[in-house]
Symmetry: C2
Subunit: 194 residues, 2 copies
DNA sequence: ACTAGACAAGTATCGTCTCGTTTGTCTAGT
DNA sequence: ACTAGACAAACGAGACGATACTTGTCTAGT
């Protein structure tokens, strides 16, 4: 580590505000000055914790992926029927930025892929695998098998739905309603949006 | 009409080749000269049929929407089970540009929305309505109702899947396989990709 | 551990210029 | 109905220097 040690909570909050600023203006148009101001810290304080702007950005994105995947795991591990669990997990992952105008989402995404390498795609590909595992371990697997369908079919279809809804530019409410409908269709029983 | 009359077949072929050129290079980077050459016509011939570049582009996009929606109707009206009909209709609509690199799809889309006004969104919104009508008129509607789901739920979910798969950057084969899986899930029985 | 202030080097951004291309129109001709 | 060739006006791409901003580092101080 070339950075100085830092309280884990502070670091988390710092990265969250940094990500918010980056998301708002994009990577290029966001200055370290702006991030520092938003985080109530000096510009030099930022350089004390992160080698440079890229390192800060990478850490912010990495944290987003990390907490996102952790949320998916947590929702899927809850004690509830498979439908609501799938819904909550997908809402946590695909609904993250829904309702935000996010004018420069494209630039952020491209920069993330460029700086994070395969970690971006890896995280994205992990979600349908987690969904599949949860389905396979639930009674839904047997019901799907009866109709000649696999847990992987259902998981990949849910992924396509999630991505489609994410990029549809819906309001948060509409997103939730249609995600609930998609999960309902997959599990064969109504799931309430929450 | 300010344009001269033209044989309907010739017009159709002209618009198809124009669309192909526009799709390849985008609206801005495509010159009337290029379109004329691709259509084996003189540049002045183009101006004889279309007021200007925008009118040509609008006509090409309008034709694409028109033939696309007609294909959806035709596939849904076939004499076959609801699953294969939904699959074929969605493949025709959402799979239209799958497998094409389409580097400037974004520019084409933005320009279409700018020049076609609401016609673009209207056509897009019509597809799930057509899917819904086909589902509602099939035995699938009753099976869905048993589980507390509506034809609209299924149609909107299929739309989300279609859009998600369309923008996933898959190969044509992968697209077909995953579209078949999605339709299978919706109808509750395996549908073969074709 | 953190801030304040200053620094050279690098990078966007701006207005302006030029040059080649494209557009839309015209005329003349088949 | 269509082509050929020419045309002014508009446009886009590229180059240019001037200006302001940003980055990353340093030093001094709390």
């Amino acid at each position: 580590m070339s950075e100085t040690s830092i309280d884990s909570d502070r670091r988390a909050r710092l990265l969250d505000t940094a990500l918010a600023v980056f998301a708002r203006y994009g990577f290029r148009k966001t200055s370290m000055e702006e991030v520092a101001r938003a985080a109530d810290i000096s510009r030099q304080g930022l350089y004390l914790h992160f080698r440079d702007k890229e390192a800060l950005f990478r850490a912010a994105i990495a944290r987003m992926l990390e907490t996102g995947l952790a949320a998916v795991d947590a929702e899927l591990a809850r004690d509830a029927p498979i439908g609501p669990r799938l819904y909550a997990a997908m809402k946590a992952w695909y609904g993250r930025s829904v309702g935000t105008p996010a004018a420069n989402a494209e630039e952020i995404f491209a920069r993330s892929v460029a700086l994070l390498g395969g970690a971006m795609e890896a995280a994205g590909a992990e979600v349908p695998r987690k969904l599949e595992a949860a389905i396979a371990a639930s009674p839904l697997a047997a019901r799907l098998a009866e109709r000649g369908l696999t847990a992987a079919d259902a998981a990949l279809t849910l992924e396509a739905c999630g991505l489609g809804l994410k990029h549809a530019g819906l309001t948060r409410e509409a997103f939730k309603a249609r995600l609930a409908a998609a999960v309902s269709l997959a599990v064969g029983a109504p799931v309430r949006p929450g």
